[in-house]
């Protein structure tokens, strides 16, 4: 059996317990994530995605249930929780929540420094991480607060990459990136995944991106896990996803309309490449029939 890297048992979290605003943001979550997988995490606004992932490196202490990282119960010894913060790196939804040093260099160096690495190693890691997020040398001495939205996002990602975590969790890392930047960051994440064998959890609102990069998909719906499985299997259930209020990419809606019109295009097409292939195939068939 494949080795489990992250596992939760009956994990629940209640915000503002005992007040009128009490809210059960995640409810009885039982997941088991295989080491080395690339998981896309999708769910509607407020479904509990950010709350769930903040449990996986001990940023939030559960109201009930357990979190295991590499088989260890992370709250067994609360004093050891730091260890799991290095093992499981988390890039926040808002990069502003993560940037606080005077310079970009110091910000990226923060994690490695806390891990007790040597100056040399820190320096190497900072420069590598900057490169992998498309930040040129001249950014390193700038203040993170004087950057554009997309530039801040890159610094936040670089800071976590520099820790070289075994599990890399990214909360909507491409929000605010320009299209080329999205592609670049996603492919860098994929490279990191392939090169180091790290497990990736990517929170995203883009089914297209998830379809292109993830081996597994986790769907959250109203504080609960609605589906978890291999990408292809989950996306076969597109209709159910729509019923949950999740929306498929533009191209999938076009294909659904074509099917309604009686054209035999495949279901669950999510990317332009898949769409093109499907159309070409149909046209070829038509061509053969003509011949």
């Amino acid at each position: 059996m494949a080795e489990s890297i992250i596992k939760t048992e009956g994990l629940s979290y209640v915000y503002s317990a005992g007040t009128p605003y009490e809210h059960r943001a995640i409810d009885d979550i039982n997941i088991d994530i295989e080491k080395g997988s690339f998981v896309g995490l999708i769910g509607h606004t407020g479904s509990g995605k950010s709350t769930l992932i903040q449990h996986l490196n001990g940023l939030i202490k559960p109201t009930a249930g357990k979190v295991y990282v590499g088989g260890e119960d992370i709250w067994e010894n609360p004093k050891d929780i730091r260890k799991f913060r290095f093992k499981v790196g988390l890039v926040f939804q808002y990069p502003e929540h993560q940037l606080f040093e005077e310079t970009v260099y110091k910000d990226i160096a923060f994690g490695p420094k806390n891990m007790g690495l040597s100056e040399n190693d820190i320096n190497r890691r900072v420069r590598e991480a900057a490169k992998h997020t498309g930040l040129t040398e001249e950014y390193l001495e700038k203040s993170p607060f004087e950057l554009s939205g997309g530039e801040k996002r890159r610094v936040a990602i670089a800071g976590v990459l520099a820790m070289q975590p075994e599990v890399l969790i990214l909360d909507e890392p491409t929000a605010g990136l320009d299209p080329k930047g999205r592609e670049f960051i996603l492919s860098e994440i994929k490279t990191y995944h392939e090169r180091t064998g790290a497990t990736i959890i990517l929170v995203s609102h883009s089914m297209e991106d998830v379809a292109r990069f993830a081996s597994h998909v986790l769907i959250m719906n109203h504080s609960k896990v609605a589906m978890y499985g291999e990408t292809r299997e989950v996306f076969k259930r597109v209709d159910e996803l729509c019923e949950m209020g999740l929306e498929v990419p533009q191209i999938s809606r076009v294909f659904a309309k074509l099917r309604e019109k009686g054209i035999d295009v495949p279901e669950s097409v999510l990317t332009v490449a898949e769409a093109k292939e499907a159309v070409l195939k149909l046209l070829e068939k038509g061509g053969e029939a003509n011949a």
């Binding site: 808002y94 320009d178 209020g245």
Partner: protein, 289 residues
């Protein structure tokens, strides 16, 4: 003299102040754009190209180092007119955290209205209406820091919807929303434009959103390099991609198929056009057979 546009930027340049004596780079470099009343304009550009900086010139948060910006004929450099200008042009910032001021959501949405001296009864109505529009009415008594990312973004938008300025500038208002939320917010913004006649300037990295606007302005390294209809801008697929941008999925698919030699219209922009074009292409093939 030619009639002035509602918002007019005349060859403006801007650089942020430098602290260490180094000559700061020009973030805006001789930009001229004008926006008429009731227009619905998208601003596109790569990260760091200067979009947010430009947007902040439209309601006098920043003033140009060179050139000038006017709103309804008033120069944004006139400090005495700041209040007037901000009343005409409202802004939703890129990070909604920077926007939220009150500890209760409905107070936050009402904040600008109170400052404008709107009567309490009307404030009540407008706030409720705005919160319903963004589907956050049930949360009206919550605290903004109890919200998820997408929920915060909706509250910031509700604030502007309630304020009903002559013009709204939205800096990536949908970045943190799920696709359904994005569509709803775009619908709300369109309504503001089409029904209330509010001028809309929206910065976005989502090409399908830009395709819904009347006009697209592309900023690249502090310069405006394209300013035209979405059909014209997205028709230049190669140029757009070269500048680090993209085209909507449907545009790309039809462009790709056309490249393979199939007969498709020049620039397909939305779902319905794409369905029609593909239906013709695919059924045409069947009929021949």
């Amino acid at each position: 003299m030619a009639k002035k546009s509602f918002i007019e930027a005349n060859s403006i340049s801007f650089s942020y102040p430098s602290y260490d004596g180094v000559i700061p780079p020009l973030v805006l470099d001789g930009v001229s754009v004008s926006v008429d009343e009731r227009e619905f304009v998208a601003v596109l550009g790569h990260n760091g190209s200067g979009k947010s900086t430009l947007a902040k010139h439209f309601n006098a948060i920043l003033v140009p180092t060179e050139g000038n910006v006017s709103v309804s004929g008033i120069s944004t450099a006139e400090e005495a007119k700041l209040f007037e200008i901000r009343q005409e042009v409202g802004m939703v910032f890129q990070n909604p955290d920077n926007q939220i001021v009150a500890t209760i959501i409905e107070e936050d949405v009402a904040f600008a209205l109170e400052n404008l001296g709107v009567p309490p009864m009307e404030i009540r109505e407008r706030v409720d209406d705005a919160l319903k529009k963004v589907e956050m009415y049930d949360y009206r008594l919550h605290s903004p820091n109890q919200l998820s990312g997408g929920q915060k973004q909706r509250i910031a938008i509700a604030g502007i919807v309630a304020m009903r300025p002559k013009c709204v500038v939205l800096d990536e208002p949908t970045a943190m929303l799920d696709p359904r939320g994005r569509r709803e917010v775009m619908k709300t913004i369109r309504q503001l434009n089409k029904e209330l006649g509010i001028t809309v300037i929206i910065i976005t990295h989502y090409m399908d959103e830009a395709a819904m606007c009347d006009r697209v302005v592309v900023v690249d390294d502090g310069k405006v390099i394209m300013d035209s209809t979405p059909r014209e801008v997205f028709g230049s697929v190669e140029l757009i991609k070269e500048r680090g941008l993209d085209v909507p999925q449907v545009t790309e698919l039809c462009y790709e198929l056309k490249k393979e030699g199939f007969d498709l219209p020049e620039c397909v922009l939305d779902e319905d056009e794409c369905v029609a074009a593909l239906e013709k292409l695919l059924k045409g093939g069947e009929n021949n057979g």
